[in-house]
Amino acid sequence: MKLEVKNLHKSFGETEVLHGISFSVESGRALGLLGRNGAGKTTTIRILMQVFGANEGTVLLDGVPFSPKKIGIGYLPEERGLYPKKTVTEQLMYLAALRGMKRTEAAKAVKHWLERMGVEDYASRKLETLSKGNQQKVQLAATLLHDPPVIILDEPFSGLDPVNSQVLKDVIREQIEKEKLVIFSSHQMGYVEEFCHDIVIMNHGNAVLAGDLRELKKTFGHGRLVLSLNGKSGEETETLVRERYAGLVVPDGIHADHVVLKMIGETKKTDVFRALAQADLDVESFGDYRPSLNDIFVESAGDEA
């Protein structure tokens, strides 16, 4: 399966909030939808879920218009919540019925997912009596009950402790391995890096960056090096580089113990390496710059992650 979002535009009144968003994702791969608050992620997800329509643009699944209710999407909204006064089983059975599952099939799925999430002991308890983490696990069970081929998770890790996060990570990995199409929205770059093959970075309603994460990292690292010197801070290293190697590189980022350098013109990595070796500097590490997702995000979407 391939989900393609093409040139989505959305306006509320006079204000256009999405200015032509495009991306695609395939089964067995996860797409990370990233962006600062107000970037348009939730609006994009709500258009995908057909909560409201786009003013322009299309969403296609395998080349035909996408219908979430026909496909059976597993959607975990950012604004979580089920029925606090209902028992866990009662509400999961209700949601399963709404998704067209037969009673016996639903009961089996409820049992399976409660066990998988480690909350089977709370099956007959009212949701409001569970901890926030366990409520979230119940919500994830509700999302996956009907074995949906497309899964959209909006900030799935928020509010989870490390142990529960691990359970959730395992479940998401299983779903990706089962060739599910996963769209993952989060501010927590570490999780996105762990799961997502593809990312879309949104900023002010634009998709400022989209593509394969590994490729993007390579592209972002292209022409840049990382250098750290024993016994010197990032700032000291930067000063030294400016004084001695101004013709070869310019500092492109200062960190606590290292600097990122951008090669000038036709400069090659070996030229810089040779120059460093000749200067008899105590080099701690030197190599190609591999940006983290956080670095890419900050560079693409602003100075806050």
Binding site: S11, V51, F52, I73, E79, L98
Partner: protein, 423 residues
């Protein structure tokens, strides 16, 4: 359709599994049944006196207890004092009020002491047509004063007639004559239909206000606990809002049916105990029931959809009552028009109100029950009301889908319509 049925089943479960709903229904049904069944049992002796109509039988009882041969120890003990000697024949006076034991006192003080000591009441004669009623604690149903007033007045009237040389018995005979009439009602008998119409209009008022608020609260709760986000992306909003509103309708009909039904069943078995005096409440013709079901149900659905929309436009349950005020006011106005128009159901205001969907539920029902309405008028009104219900159901589904995902301050209805057009 399947989704609608699933929503309906779930929402019905919310009502019927609610302890407060079931307890309220059962308690109210028991109260109504008891109110109908118990008075004839407990008030057999005084029932006729309280509700009228059985005066002869009570008089007979009273007379038998007044006689010396039939001394009744439970008969009320009354005192009478005539220190000035206005009445020449005190026994003749007290005989006019049988069923009581009388004691004669010489002074006002003695009479007061008698009452203080436990006498049921006393009368101090202070002149022609004037007396003082002495009682320790007067109860709400105390009728001694009015009874004595009647006999004391007639005593002096007869005296004066005799002094004028007119035979009191002849006067009485003349005054006792009255016209005998029969009634031929060609249309509806508004006088006898009034009370059950009043009760049914009130039942509808209760259902709309109570269940309307419950439907709005149910929707707002799903919004405030964020369950709505999952629901609207799983189920189409038409199934959701129709499921909720129709579940509320079924629950309301069930509750009202059980409560009214308990009263009807109790009256069916205990009607004889009331001498069938409550027929004006419980003998409701089939056509009135049919009109109530059609117009009541449609009107209920119309307001339920409006309340459903309002529930979707607020984020906190505490905001519901404020946002619901305009809709509540419209319904209250409809209720007041009907209540006012029930005295004259064919007045122009009622005729107009019976064709406006927001008021026709009450007004047309009242006109059918109390006045003369042509079948064409009934059909036109019902079709207009039904069409409005369908339109509001459609609009409610649209607003529901849009409104449920808007959090924060309550959204105005006009603002919601504007946003809806923008989408």
């Amino acid at each position: 359709m399947k989704q609608f049925l699933n929503v309906l089943k779930f929402e019905l479960g919310n009502y019927f599994k609610s302890r407060s709903f079931m307890v309220t229904t059962v308690l109210l049904a028991l109260v109504v049944a008891a109110a109908v069944a118990l008075p004839p049992v407990f008030m057999k002796g005084s029932f006729s006196d309280v509700f009228g109509g059985g005066k002869e039988s009570s008089k007979e009882t009273a007379e038998s207890s007044s006689g010396a041969d039939n001394y009744d120890p439970d008969a009320a003990l009354l005192g009478i004092a005539d220190p000035e000697g206005f009445v020449s024949d005190l026994a003749g006076l007290t005989d006019r009020m049988p069923g009581y034991q009388w004691k004669v006192f010489d002074s006002a003080d003695e009479l007061e002491q008698f009452v203080e000591a436990g006498g049921d009441g006393g009368f101090l004669l202070t002149g022609k047509f004037t007396y003082t009623y002495v009682v320790r604690d007067r109860s709400l149903l105390d009728s001694l004063d009015s009874e004595f007033s009647e006999i004391y007045t007639s005593y002096w009237q007869e005296k004066e007639l005799e002094e004028a040389g007119i035979a009191a018995s002849k006067v009485q005979e003349i005054l006792n004559q009255s016209s005998i009439s029969t009634m031929q009602i060609l249309g509806k008998d508004g006088a006898s239909n009034y009370w059950y119409t009043y009760i049914l209009v009130f039942v509808l008022y209760f259902l709309v206000i109570f269940y309307g608020q419950m439907i709005a609260t149910s929707i707002t709760s799903e919004k405030s606990n964020r369950a709505i986000e999952v629901l609207v992306t799983t189920v189409d909003s038409t199934s959701l809002i129709f499921g909720k509103v129709i579940a509320g309708a079924i629950s309301g009909i069930f509750q009202a049916g059980v409560i009214l039904g308990s009263g009807l069943i109790a009256y069916h078995f205990c009607g004889a105990g009331w001498d069938y005096r409550l027929d004006f409440l419980f003998h409701i013709p089939a056509e009135v029931w049919a009109a109530f079901i059609v117009f009541g149900l449609l009107s209920y659905l119309l307001y339920a959809f409006l309340f459903g929309m309002l529930g979707a436009l607020v984020s906190k349950t505490e905001d519901i009552s404020k946002s619901a005020t305009p809709v509540t006011m419209v319904f209250v106005v409809s209720f007041i028009i009907t209540m006012t128009g029930m005295n004259e159901s064919d007045m122009l205001l009622m005729k107009v109100a019976s064709f406006i969907p927001f008021t026709s539920g009450n007004a047309m029902f009242a006109r059918i029950a109390l006045g003369s309405v042509s079948p064409v008028e009934v059909v036109v009104s019902a079709v207009l009301l039904a069409a409005t219900v369908v339109f509001l159901g459609w609009l409610a589904a649209k607003i529901f889908r849009f409104g449920t995902l808007m959090y924060g301050n309550p959204i105005k209805f006009t603002q919601a319509l504007k946003k809806l057009r923008e989408q």
